[in-house]
């Protein structure tokens, strides 16, 4: 029984729809994660090691450092928006897999 369950999950994991879902999720999530961590860490690194350059006022009295910090808010909201748009596709694929699985349950009974 347990063995059969295990095999069922294995079959599901190898299915084409699931591989496609996993691939398209990863294609977004991995680059997005690397990007946001790099963009964020650039702030303490630049401010920590080049405080003088980052103290230059660039937008009226606002320093380069402050503008960079404010841009992080925009960055976070833009990545959020992109993910929300992209995730509609993930939802469709996941729903299709769930529907088919439910159908197979009914068929096998």
């Amino acid at each position: 029984m347990n063995r059969a369950k295990q095999t069922r999950w294995k079959t599901l994991a190898d299915e084409q729809d699931f591989r496609a879902l996993l691939r398209s999720r990863r294609r977004f999530v991995i680059p997005a994660t690397i990007f946001f961590i790099a963009y964020y860490l650039a702030l303490p690194i630049s401010v920590g090691f080049w405080p003088h350059e980052m103290s230059r006022p660039v937008l009226g009295p606002l320093t380069l450092a402050y503008c960079f910090a404010l841009s992080q808010f925009a960055m976070a909201w833009i990545v959020l928006a992109l993910y929300l748009v992209r995730s509609r596709r993930f939802d469709l694929l996941a729903a299709r897999i769930r529907r088919r699985e439910a159908q197979e349950q009914v068929d096998s009974q």
Partner: protein, 542 residues
């Protein structure tokens, strides 16, 4: 005197929330109702509740103060705490909702079956939550000291502790959620109002506002708050900043009291929607800390932020501190009061008093109380579920025991956690609270985050690796803090204030090495199931 109006407003908040608790109490008679509000909270509501759970009084009062005193360097906290939600959004929220039941340990022990992983996951959740809880309750003491000097901080702490227990014990997750939603609304309104008033002071001219922030007079000369380096400077300043940044941006994804909020929504999609709303609300809040903080520095004045002493009290103080007599006397004749000790935590209430009058200050103080109450209730619920569900029900009783026992143990655990927090907070009064919150973030980032991510993504990840990883992160972060300048001052062995830059890699390395050392075929066999369920939502708890 802001004591009376502030008490009245706080009493109104308590009254409303008690009505909510009474309404919720009928719906939390099962463990599913108690822990997760029957998973019927909508994405929008949960987003507000996450904001209410996350933005603590330490953040509201603390960050405003840090920006007021250190400008840009204080604002760094705001940036990190918002960006951190991208990690929750992209990596954690949806898989967690799809595979967990009540607690964070559920996710880890999904494939890493057995007692060891669950026990240690519960332990680290309890440790993180308790540090966070004590930080908030100690904050109550400070706030009471300010607003109601005659009440005494012990009574304040006990009062808040008892109220919070009423919400949690009788209303469970549903009441706690609504307390957090109401509080988030109040807090956001307050922050928007204060920022607007601060800008009005400069005729709504952003240029004049920021110009004023470039030249803030202090006792040590004029300082430019838009420049970096006021808080983090010296040879290790950069490393301190980077270490703190790492802990801030990764820590949130390991905070148990935030993560259990995703069990209250019906689906992974609603979990995603709730992070989206939370990011909007939290982002607006943190953006505005800039205006409140810089406003406090420019309008109230750097040297006026702190506990104020008037007339007789001031003369008494001067008599006892003859060394500073001339400067204090000058302050007294010029302002009518003295500020012997600057205290950045008072920036927000003093800004409100200056631009909105005493009623506004009373409102801000009442909102700060409400904030503490809501956060503390969420934390207690988290600790109680970690104990009742993970330790008692899964480990001691081996999954046996009926529904009424489960709910009884959950309530008893909440009571015990609440009592423990009250006692510890009274013992630790006057301790630096920001340090305790920093501890919680560093422990979460080092002990929980690497193990959660590896459990979700690495087929070979083993139980031994998870246990070693969590212990390695937990022990290294705690040990480094114990020998850091925060606790040991100039005799510190570890030079940085935040252990993140060392303890996060240590946690990750321990988890990887532990896995490579001991193979775990059971865990590998479960990986397919975990991956399918986490990604598609098949078989998720409803």
């Amino acid at each position: 005197m802001i004591a009376q109006p502030s008490l009245v407003m706080f009493a109104i908040f308590v009254g409303i929330t008690l009505v909510v608790t009474y309404w919720a109490s009928g719906q939390s008679r099962t463990s599913r109702g108690f822990y997760t509000a029957h998973r019927r909270i909508g994405g929008l509501q949960n987003g507000w509740a996450i904001a209410g759970d996350y933005v603590s009084a330490a953040t509201f009062l603390g960050i405003t103060g840090l920006v007021a005193f250190y400008g840009f360097d204080g604002f760094m906290y705001s940036v990190g705490w918002l960006v951190a939600y991208l990690a929750v959004l992209l990596l954690i929220a949806e898989p967690l909702r799809n595979t967990g039941k009540y607690t964070l340990a559920d996710l880890m022990s999904f494939r890493l079956r057995g007692r060891g992983v669950r026990a240690i996951a519960a332990l680290s959740a309890l440790a993180i939550t308790l540090f966070y809880l004590i930080a908030q309750m100690v904050g109550v003491g400070a706030l009471v000291n300010l607003v109601l000097p005659r009440v005494g901080d012990v009574i304040g702490i006990v009062g808040v502790g008892v109220l919070m227990l009423v919400y949690v014990l009788f209303g469970g997750m549903l009441a706690t959620t609504w307390v957090q939603i109401i509080k988030a609304g109040l807090l956001l309104a307050t922050v928007i109002g204060l920022s607007g008033l601060a800008l009005r002071h400069f005729n709504f001219s952003l240029t004049r506002f920021f110009d004023a922030a470039t030249a803030v007079p202090t006792a040590h000369g004029v300082s430019n708050l838009l420049q970096p380096g006021l808080l983090f400077h010296g040879p290790l300043g950069a490393w301190n900043l980077i270490s703190l940044g790492l802990a801030l941006v990764l820590g949130t994804a390991g905070l148990p009291h935030i993560l259990i909020r995703f069990f209250t929504v019906p689906s992974a999609r609603a979990a995603r929607t709730s992070v989206a709303w939370a990011m909007v609300l939290i982002g607006v809040f943190y953006l505005l800390t800039s205006f409140m903080g810089l406003g406090a520095a420019t309008i109230v004045g750097h040297d006026h932020i702190g506990r104020r002493m008037y007339a007789g009290q001031a003369i008494d103080y001067i008599a006892h501190h003859p060394a500073q007599e001339t400067s204090l006397n000058a302050q007294l004749t010029q302002n009518g009061y003295i500020v012997p000790q600057p205290d950045s935590n008072l920036a927000a209430p003093l800004l409100a008093a200056q631009i909105g009058g005493s009623l506004a200050a009373a409102f801000v103080a009442a909102v700060a109380f409400a904030t503490i109450l809501a956060v503390v209730a969420g934390l207690t619920l988290t600790a109680s579920s970690a104990f009742a569900h993970d330790i008692w029900f899964s480990l001691i009783r081996n999954g046996r025991g009926d529904e009424s026992e489960h709910i009884f143990v959950a309530r008893a655990a909440a009571l015990a956690v609440g009592a423990l927090a009250i006692a510890l907070s009274i013992a630790l009064r006057g301790f630096n609270v920001a340090f305790l919150v920093g501890l919680a973030f560093a422990v979460a980032a080092s002990a929980n985050v690497p193990v959660i991510l590896l459990a979700l993504a690495w087929r070979r990840f083993s139980r031994f690796g998870a246990i070693v990883g969590m212990l390695g992160g937990l022990v290294s972060s705690l040990a480094l803090i114990a020998v850091s300048p925060v606790l040991m001052g100039s005799r510190a062995i570890f030079p940085l204030e935040n252990p993140g830059i060392v303890s996060i890699p240590v946690g990750l390395l321990c988890a990887v090495l532990g896995t490579l050392l001991v193979r775990d075929p059971d865990s590998e066999a479960m990986f397919d199931q975990l991956q399918v369920r986490a990604t598609t939502g098949l078989g998720a708890e409803v």
